[in-house]
Amino acid sequence: MKKVIITVVGKDTVGIIAKVCSYLADAEINILDISQTIVSGYFNMMMVVDFGKVTKSFDTISSELDELGNEIGVMIKCQREEIFDSMHRI
């Protein structure tokens, strides 16, 4: 298991989750957890996903998600889970 946190932030519109999830499915990325809220018209989503079966490089996925974000008009960021673990867990 190679846990990665994906965050999506931007103006709310139809189909953000659908587009992000179908990209993830195509890339063989399994979603472990999703939480999502709308704060004053802004869409905020955090996903915990597993990169275990992924064949593409982290860099490629990160840039492709960037591009996808540009298409939908949101910011998509993916980061390995360890940075959050190190910072918030003793």
């Binding site: 955090m46 860099d59 673990d85």
Partner: protein, 454 residues
């Protein structure tokens, strides 16, 4: 499992508060490059550094991408060149040839700076040390990324006043050699007391002889993160203030620790230390002076500043040592003038003088850093300022340093622009009463006693 708020907090630190890993510095020993033939020596140095560090920048960028945290600089520190060149270099120009080799290989591997064009002369100078020191003005003028440092004193040995006097002249000559670029050469030259062997920060980094063949040292930063955290506790007691700084320093350092471990594993080079320094940049909101302001002084330099800085420095260390098992380098708050917008504002407002900065250096790392002074300041006055700062380090058993920039052709009231991370600085007045009879005495100031602490 990690929750939404924690992810948002980390990303807000990175995106809005300038949290970054300031530098991954690879220390490389050049002892095995030593040769009596200068060309052979330069070839050995080039090959060793190139082979060791060729993947450093790429690896740093990969880690940065995967964890989503900027790693601003990738740098190299090397064994002090005065030792490495001692049998091959017969003149100062021979040393300059080594400096050019360092510049070439640093550019070839793509690092921002290479530090270690250095001499350690805290007790005495060998011929080779003297040749290297005399070559510094030319070496810094004809290279772009080579950084130089000279250790002129320590708590154990006292202060080598011959070296202090010489450095007064060398700083001035370096300014002259680079006067077309606002004496930029001096921004790459540091004079130390108690210089650490494992400092990842420039311009004073070198790879000490007590170190392994190769090592990864990481410098974290995050003045903006500390400032933002303190905004939430305005008006609260010192206990709350200190607790907040400690917790923030812990989080920041853990990011550095993670990056250091990753870099070490991927490059196959052992992890050395994390340097816990709060290192400002000229970017708005990335300022140590702003933290002091948030703690409660109107401008850095106002009464209370030294106490505020002392507590800040101590809390950063307390939070940081909990976050990493190996802490080293300079570890404290940096107070450079030109690299910190809040410090520049304080100078322009008339709140901050060199004398107050000197007092502040008693309680934090590192010293009189990136201070522009008038170009007509005498060599002996510069030597006097260096001697004062070295004395603070020697007596207080801490690292102190001096990085002064006498800007040739400019005086008090003018400003000087260095660009990039080095920022810009208003030229500060220096006390011009003479100290020739003091610095020209020659010899050493003896090491202090370690008892009767008063």
């Amino acid at each position: 499992m990690i929750n939404f708020t924690e992810v948002a907090e980390t990303n807000s630190m990175i995106e809005k508060e300038n949290l970054d890993v300031r530098t991954i510095t690879m220390g490389i020993s050049l002892l095995d490059c030593i040769d009596t033939d200068l060309n052979k020596l330069c070839d050995n140095i080039y090959n060793k550094i190139y082979e060791s560090a060729k993947d450093l920048v790429k690896t740093g960028d990969e880690i940065s991408k995967e964890f989503g945290v900027p790693i601003v600089n990738k740098r190299i520190s090397i064994t002090p060149i005065a030792m490495i060149g001692s049998s091959a270099c017969k003149s100062s120009d021979d040393f300059v040839q080594i400096a050019k080799t360092l510049d070439k290989v640093a550019k070839a591997v793509g690092v921002n700076f290479i530090g270690g064009y250095s001499a350690l002369v805290s007790k005495g100078m060998t011929t080779s040390d003297r040749l290297l020191i005399e070559s510094i003005p030319k070496a810094l003028a004809c290279t772009d990324v080579v950084c130089s440092s000279v250790n002129v004193g320590s708590t154990k040995t006292g202060i080598n006043m011959d070296a202090v006097r010489l450095m007064g002249t060398i700083v001035k000559k370096t300014a002259e050699e680079t006067k077309e670029n606002d004496s930029l050469g001096c921004a790459k030259l540091v004079i130390f007391c108690n210089a650490p062997d494992d400092n990842p920060f420039m311009a004073g980094a070198f790879h000490g002889v007590t170190e392994a063949d190769k090592i990864i040292n990481v410098g974290v930063s995050g003045p903006g993160v500390v400032k933002t955290a303190l905004e939430q506790v305005r008006g609260e007691s010192f206990e709350v203030l200190c607790e907040t700084i400690k917790k923030t320093a812990f989080k920041v350092t853990r990011v550095g620790q993670l990056v250091a471990k990753q870099a070490s594993a991927r490059l196959g080079v052992p992890f050395g230390i994390i340097d816990l320094s709060l290192a400002p940049t000229p970017a708005i909101g990335d300022s140590v002076a702003d933290i002091l302001h948030e703690i409660g002084v109107e401008h850095a330099g106002a009464p209370g500043t030294t106490a505020a800085l002392a507590l800040l420095n101590d809390q950063v260390k307390k939070g940081g040592v909990m976050a990493s098992s190996y802490v080293g380098g300079l570890s404290g708050a940096f107070i450079p003038v030109s690299e910190d917008q809040g410090m520049i504002n304080a100078v322009e407002a008339g709140a901050l003088t060199i004398e107050k900065l000197e007092a502040m250096t008693c309680v934090c790392s590192v010293g009189l850093d990136m201070i522009a002074i008038p170009g007509d300041t005498k060599d002996t006055t510069i030597a006097g300022i260096i001697a004062d700062e070295m004395a603070i380090g020697m007596i207080n058993q801490k690292t102190t340093a001096v990085r002064l920039i006498p800007v040739i052709g400019k005086g008090v009231g003018e400003t000087v622009e260095f660009g990039g991370l080095l920022g810009y600085a208003p030229i500060m007045p220096v006390n011009n009463f003479g100290c020739e009879n003091f610095v020209n005495r020659g010899g050493r100031i003896p090491a202090p006693v370690h008892s009767f602490k008063n």
